[in-house]
C-alpha cells in the first residue's frame, strides 16, 4: 500500500486498470474499486487520468469519487475498523462502542496519527440478529461489547 510513488506510478496503474475493464459497460465504479484495491485510496492524481481514459470530464470523475463513502481520498490506517451504527445494532448498544472508541482517543472517520488504525461508522453490515456488529480489515464480528472492541482495535483478536 505504498502510495508515496511518483505520479507516473499512479498514472500507469490507472491506465492498466482501465484497460482491464475496457469491455465493461459504465465501468467507472469497478475501475475505482480496482484502483483503490491497488493503491489503498483514490489519489487526486488519478482523477485526470481516469477522465482522459474514460472520456469523461474531471468534474464527472470527481463527482463520483466523492459521492460514495467507500472511496478514500487518503490512505487508511493499517487496521480499518467499522462500527455498525444502524438501528438493529443501536438496539443492543452500538453507541457504547462509539463512546468506547472516542474515549480511547479515536475519532470516527479519522486515522490515528501513527497510521495504525482508522475507525469508521457504517450503516448495517447485515448481521442484525447478532449485533452489535463490527468489521475489522474485512472480517465481520458479531455480539461485540466494548472489551472485545478494545481487543479488535489493539489487533489482538
Amino acid at each position: 500500500m505504498t502510495t508515496s510513488g511518483s505520479d507516473v506510478t499512479v498514472e500507469s496503474v490507472v491506465r492498466r486498470v482501465v484497460a482491464d475493464h475496457r469491455d465493461q459497460r459504465g465501468a467507472l465504479l469497478p475501475v475505482l474499486h480496482a484502483v483503490q484495491a491497488e493503491l489503498g485510496h483514490v489519489p487526486q492524481e488519478a482523477i485526470p487520468v481516469l477522465a482522459d481514459e474514460l472520456n469523461l470530464s474531471r468534474a464527472d470523475v470527481h463527482g463520483v469519487v466523492t459521492f460514495y463513502h467507500d472511496f478514500r481520498r487518503e490512505p487508511a490506517g493499517r487496521t480499518t475498523v467499522r462500527i455498525c451504527r444502524a438501528e438493529a445494532c443501536q438496539a443492543l448498544g452500538a453507541d457504547r462502542l462509539v463512546s468506547y472508541a472516542r474515549e480511547a482517543g479515536l475519532t470516527l472517520g479519522e486515522t490515528t496519527a501513527d497510521g495504525s488504525v482508522t475507525v469508521e461508522q457504517v450503516f448495517c453490515l447485515g448481521n442484525c440478529a447478532l449485533g452489535p456488529s463490527v468489521e475489522a480489515n474485512g472480517r465481520l464480528y458479531g455480539r461485540v461489547g466494548p472489551a472485545r472492541l478494545g481487543s479488535i482495535l489493539n489487533g489482538t483478536v
Binding site: 467507500d70 444502524a86 443501536q90 443492543l92 469508521e120 461508522q121 450503516f123 448495517c124 447485515g126 440478529a129
Partner: protein
C-alpha cells in the same frame, strides 16, 4: 470410534458434518469451529467430511453444527471452537447426547412451523455445489419456463400474485409485461441486492446460501422479457455474498446454466456482479441504475419508468433478490400453489427477519398474515436483554415504530399501510424499554441527511432541518410551534420528495411522535447522543 492412533483410520466411513459459511455464523466463530473439526479429522482421530453450508437462519444458535446420521441431521449449537474436542469425544458423529445437542434440525419447532419456499434450500445444501442444487430441486423452474413462451411465463408470474419484495410490493408480473412489450433489441435484467436497510439480511443469506437460485430466477426473468444481459448490484458491505455469487456465476457458466443456448434452449443470457460503494440511496432502483452506469447514485425522476427506459436507457427489469429467488418456485410448482398461500392481496410467503434486541433472531419464512406478536414473542422469544419490548421498527430505517398496542396487526401490505406503517422488506427490529424514541426519531432525520443523494430539496434540506426541529422540541424551545413545524416539514417531505428516502423518512419520525410523545418532553438522553455525521460538519452534542 475414538481412535487416538495418528495413523489409524476411524472405524467407519467419514461422517458429513455441516458448519455454516454464512457471514453471520462466521461473525461468531464458524470458521474456527470448522477448523477445529478439520484438525481432528487431519489428526486421524475422527473421520469427518466438513461441508460448509448456508445458515438455517436460527442465528442465535450459530455456529450451529449439523451431523448427518441415519435418523437425519442432528444439530448442536451454539458451538465454540473449544467445545469441538468435547463434542467429538461425546460421540456427536453418532448423534450422541450433549448439553449443546438441539435434536433433529428438521423437527426443531422454530423451523418446522415455518413454510420455507424461497429459503427451502438455504442451510440444507452446499451453496456452491451444482450437483446439490439439482438434487434438491434446482433448475425445475427454469426448465419449465424454457418450455413456455415468454408471455406465458409473464402470465404465470402475474397469476401467482408475486409482489416485489424490495419494499414497495409492486406486482412483479406487471413490471415484466411492460418490459416484454418493449420492442428494443437490447434489454436488461437487474437485481437490486443493495440491501442497506438495518434489520434486513435475507438477501445476503440467500446469496450466500443458495446463489444458483438467484441465477435461475434472473435467467427466467431474462427469458420472460427478452433480455440478454443481467447485472447483480450487491452492496460492498457484503463481501461474502459478492464472492459467493461470483463463484456461482463461474460455475453456472461451466454448467451451461448461463451463456449461449442455456440448457440447450435458444436462450442467451449472461450475468455480471457489480459492487456498490457504500451509498444507502443506491438501494433506490433509479439510483442503482445510475450507479451501474458509473455515475453518482442520484435518483431519477419517474416517468420514464425503468421498465421502459432503464439501464443505459434500455427497457430494464429491476427486481429485488427475494422477488427473483421466488420466481423459480412459482414456475416449478405453478402459480396456483403459490397463490394459495397468504391473505388478501398479499400472496405467498414473506421472509421475515428478526433482529435488534431479540433473544432468537433470524429468518422466519411463513405465509403472510402472521401477527407481529407471534413473530416477536413466539419465534423471537422477546428481547435478548430480558427487558420488556417497547417498540419494533418494521420495514427498515424508513419504516414505522410500532407500540405494543399494534402487535396484533397481521403482516400484510394492506393492513400495515392502513395502520400508517409499512411492511417493506419484512425486517423487524426489536427495542427494549431503554430506548429513547426522540433519539430514534432524530436518528431517522440524521440518517436521511447523511445518505440523501441531494437531488431534491425536501430530502436534502428537510432532513437537516428535521434534526434541528426535533432538538428544539426536546429542549422545550417554543415547543408547540416547533411541533407544528415538524408536522409541516413531514408533510412537505412526504409529498415533495422524489423518492422513498425523503418521502418515507417522516414515517419513523411521526410514528415515534404519535406513539411515544412523552419521550419528546426532553431530558431523557439526547445530550449523550453521538452525531452520525463523521465528517465533522456538525459539532458534537448538538442538543
Amino acid at each position: 470410534m475414538n481412535n487416538s492412533s495418528p495413523f489409524g483410520t476411524a472405524s467407519h466411513s467419514a461422517v458429513t458434518v455441516y458448519v455454516p459459511r454464512d457471514s453471520a455464523a462466521r461473525s461468531v466463530g464458524a470458521d474456527e469451529v470448522a477448523d477445529a473439526l478439520q484438525r481432528a479429522a487431519t489428526r486421524g482421530d475422527f473421520a469427518i467430511d466438513v461441508v460448509r453450508n448456508g445458515s438455517r437462519g436460527m442465528l442465535w444458535l450459530e455456529p450451529m453444527v449439523e451431523v448427518v446420521t441415519p435418523q437425519g441431521r442432528v444439530g448442536y449449537g451454539p458451538v465454540t471452537p473449544e467445545d469441538v474436542d468435547g463434542l467429538l469425544a461425546a460421540g456427536i458423529l453418532d448423534g450422541a447426547d450433549h448439553p449443546l445437542r438441539l435434536g433433529l434440525v428438521d423437527e426443531l419447532p422454530w423451523l418446522a412451523r415455518q413454510n420455507r419456499v424461497t429459503f427451502a434450500r438455504v442451510g440444507v445444501t452446499d451453496p456452491l455445489s451444482p450437483e446439490d442444487y439439482v438434487e434438491h430441486g434446482g433448475l425445475k423452474g427454469l426448465r419449465a419456463a424454457l418450455e413456455m413462451a415468454p408471455a406465458d411465463v409473464v402470465a404465470e408470474v402475474t397469476e401467482s400474485g408475486l409482489r416485489g419484495r424490495g419494499g414497495a410490493g409492486f406486482p412483479a408480473g406487471i413490471k415484466w409485461k411492460t418490459v416484454l412489450d418493449c420492442a428494443d433489441e437490447l434489454k436488461f435484467v437487474c437485481c437490486n441486492a443493495d440491501e442497506g436497510d438495518s434489520g434486513t439480511f435475507a438477501d445476503r443469506m440467500v446469496m450466500e446460501g443458495d446463489p444458483f437460485l438467484l441465477i435461475e430466477g434472473m435467467t427466467i426473468a431474462a427469458h420472460a422479457v427478452g433480455a440478454s444481459e443481467g447485472y447483480l448490484y450487491i452492496r460492498s458491505e457484503y463481501p461474502d455474498a459478492v464472492a459467493t455469487m461470483r463463484e456461482a456465476i463461474e460455475l453456472a457458466r461451466e454448467q451451461g446454466w448461463l451463456g449461449e443456448n442455456i440448457l440447450g434452449s435458444g436462450l442467451h443470457f449472461d450475468l455480471h456482479v457489480r459492487v456498490g460503494a457504500g451509498a444507502y440511496i443506491c438501494g433506490e432502483e433509479t439510483s442503482m441504475l445510475e450507479s451501474l452506469e458509473g455515475k453518482r447514485g442520484m435518483v431519477r425522476a419517474k416517468p420514464p419508468i425503468p421498465a421502459i427506459e432503464g439501464l443505459f436507457g434500455k427497457p430494464t427489469v429491476v427486481n429485488n433478490v427475494l422477488t427473483l429467488t421466488t420466481v423459480p418456485v412459482v414456475l416449478a410448482d405453478g402459480a396456483k400453489a403459490y397463490q394459495d398461500l397468504g391473505v388478501g392481496r398479499s400472496r405467498g410467503t414473506q421472509v421475515f427477519q428478526l433482529g435488534g434486541n431479540i433473544a432468537r433472531g433470524g429468518i422466519v419464512e411463513t405465509a403472510f398474515g402472521i401477527t407481529l406478536r407471534e413473530l416477536i414473542e413466539e419465534y423471537g422469544g422477546g428481547t435478548l436483554t430480558g427487558r420488556p419490548v417497547r417498540t419494533v421498527q418494521v420495514g427498515g430505517p424508513l419504516g414505522a415504530y410500532l407500540p405494543q398496542a399494534q402487535f396484533d396487526l397481521p403482516m400484510d401490505y394492506e393492513a400495515f399501510a392502513e395502520a400508517g406503517a409499512m411492511l417493506g422488506h419484512g425486517g423487524i427490529v426489536v427495542f427494549d424499554d431503554t430506548v429513547d424514541m426522540a433519539a430514534q426519531a432524530r436518528f431517522a432525520m440524521e440518517f436521511c441527511a447523511e445518505e440523501s443523494c441531494g437531488k431534491c430539496t425536501p430530502c436534502r434540506v428537510g432532513a437537516v432541518r428535521g434534526v434541528e426541529v426535533i432538538d428544539r422540541i426536546v429542549a422545550s424551545t417554543h415547543r408547540d410551534e416547533n411541533l407544528a413545524l415538524l408536522e409541516d416539514l413531514c408533510d412537505l417531505m412526504t409529498e415533495g420528495s422524489l423518492c422513498a428516502m425523503g418521502g418515507l423518512t417522516p414515517m419513523p419520525v411521526r410514528s415515534a411522535l404519535t406513539h411515544f410523545p412523552d419521550d419528546f418532553l426532553g431530558g431523557r438522553r439526547l445530550l449523550e447522543i453521538q452525531p452520525v455525521t463523521a465528517t465533522g460538519m456538525r459539532t458534537e452534542g448538538t442538543a
